[in-house]
């Protein structure tokens, strides 16, 4: 479980997120949604510690991350897997080396054991015969899957995904969403996904936090989101002509 308590972050005089308190539960796909510029990415970067919060606390299973020193944060980070928007795979390394990287840096496993784990992770994301390829040789969907494989290679307790579907076609997006959801439930991970893809929201939104103008506007799940009377959330959910028509028909 990850909890944020009254966190705020500003850049200069510009307040980006303000007084956000949310609980992200274990074994669930927790979605942070909101329009572009609402503060979703800043919120996620604060939670993982890439940005320091100005106020408030962040807790990883009752361990206060914001009060930790460099080395304590480092040990927590080895329990975190993150999938970035563009994959953030290391260009100079092959797929195998990318997935093996955390194992090489933080374990004492033999090469055989590491290869076995890499192959397991790649198989888990339905990738085969790509070990020796470089990221530049992969399609967008494959890059995302390799990024997931790298994120789960250390058996993380917490998984973060920043816009996992950006740049993907709807069919591949569903594959990626389902993969993240399956892995979350299978390993009992606390997963936080940053998205503005409504398909993901409906498909895998076990727990949804809607951020608007830097504030927590609404909390619920995929069965409640379509029937909300929250105006800002409705404007976000029913932003397209197609969704508005479907709502009328409903």
């Amino acid at each position: 479980m990850i909890e944020t308590r009254h966190i705020s972050k500003s850049f200069g005089d510009h307040l980006i997120i303000h007084d956000i308190s949310i609980i992200f539960e274990r074994g669930k796909t927790n979605l942070i949604i909101g329009p572009s510029g609402s503060g979703k990415t800043v919120l996620m970067k604060c939670i993982v510690g890439l940005l320091e919060v100005d106020e408030g606390q962040i807790l990883y299973d009752d361990r206060t991350f914001t009060d930790m020193d460099f080395y304590e944060k480092k040990s927590i980070r080895q329990e975190i897997g993150m999938m970035f928007q563009g994959g953030a795979l290391f260009d100079s390394m092959t797929v195998e080396e990318n997935v093996m990287f955390p194992l090489t840096m933080f374990t004492t496993q033999s090469m055989e054991e590491k290869r076995e784990r890499v192959n397991f992770c790649l198989n888990r994301v339905n990738l085969e015969n790509v070990n020796k390829l470089y990221p530049a040789e992969l399609s967008g969907g494959m890059k995302k899957r390799v990024a997931i494989a790298r994120a789960i290679s250390m058996n993380p307790h917490y998984l973060f995904c920043d816009e996992p579907n950006s740049g993907l076609d709807p069919k591949t997006s569903i594959v990626i969403d389902n993969l993240i959801s399956e892995i979350t439930k299978e390993y009992g991970i606390t997963t936080i996904i940053n998205t503005h893809d409504m398909n993901s929201v409906i498909e895998i939104g076990d727990h949804i936090a809607f951020i608007y103008k830097g504030k927590l506007w609404w909390v619920g799940n995929n069965s409640k989101i379509l029937d909300t009377d929250n105006e800002e959330l409705n404007n976000f959910v029913y932003a397209t002509e197609l969704t508005r028509r479907l709502k009328k028909q409903k």
């Binding site: 980070r77 975190i80 090489t104 840096m105």
Partner: protein, 247 residues
Amino acid sequence: MKKILFSIGQYVDLTIKVFRKPEKGPVFRKQIANEINNLGIDSLGIVAIISVFMGAVVAIQTAHNITSAWVPVTTVGFTTRESILLEFSPTIICLILAGKVGSRIASEIGTMRVTEQIDALEIMGVNSANYLILPKIVAAVIIFPLLVIISMFLGIFGGWLAAVWMHVVTTTNYYAGITMDFIPYEIFYSMVKTVVFSFLITSISGYYGYYTNGGALEVGRASTKAVVMSSILVIVFNLIITQLMLG
């Protein structure tokens, strides 16, 4: 002024992060070997070509300027050696390396920054500054002095080649010139300069790459800034070290 002080503070802060203990010894050693290849061995060609031609030009220019019969012909070899050892090989070669290696480091690290690869390292708990910049600094400090020594030999060889082919001086006179009044301390002085320049080039380029913000355009800008700032500091430190060691 405020911006300059901020940049100096940021550079010092980054340098402290860079000089922490590496995460894993074997990984670090492998990275150094790779960087020696990328930064040093890959630069051997350009260093060799420039050194041979510069040595040749210095020899011809010196011979051209000796108009008095009172000046001994050994001056050609002597002047070529002194120019190569004291200034050309340590300073000019390092300025060329600042362009070649500096832009490479800044653009490589800058691209990693804008594509979130550095964030990925940080999330994993890896000290990204240490992982990316320290192997480059160590590799440069090892390989640049070797490149400069090679450049010294090739520069003097280039001078001999030109002198003999152009019938400026004989091999015997050239050899007498390059061995005349040799002071080994000059080599030590050149090596000290090279080590300082290696550190400056790699750390400054690493700094500009590491703090790149934005996209492809900013990577290009960071690369240019890295080369300009490294070159300026090489020249400034050249003066400081020369005053301290020879002044």
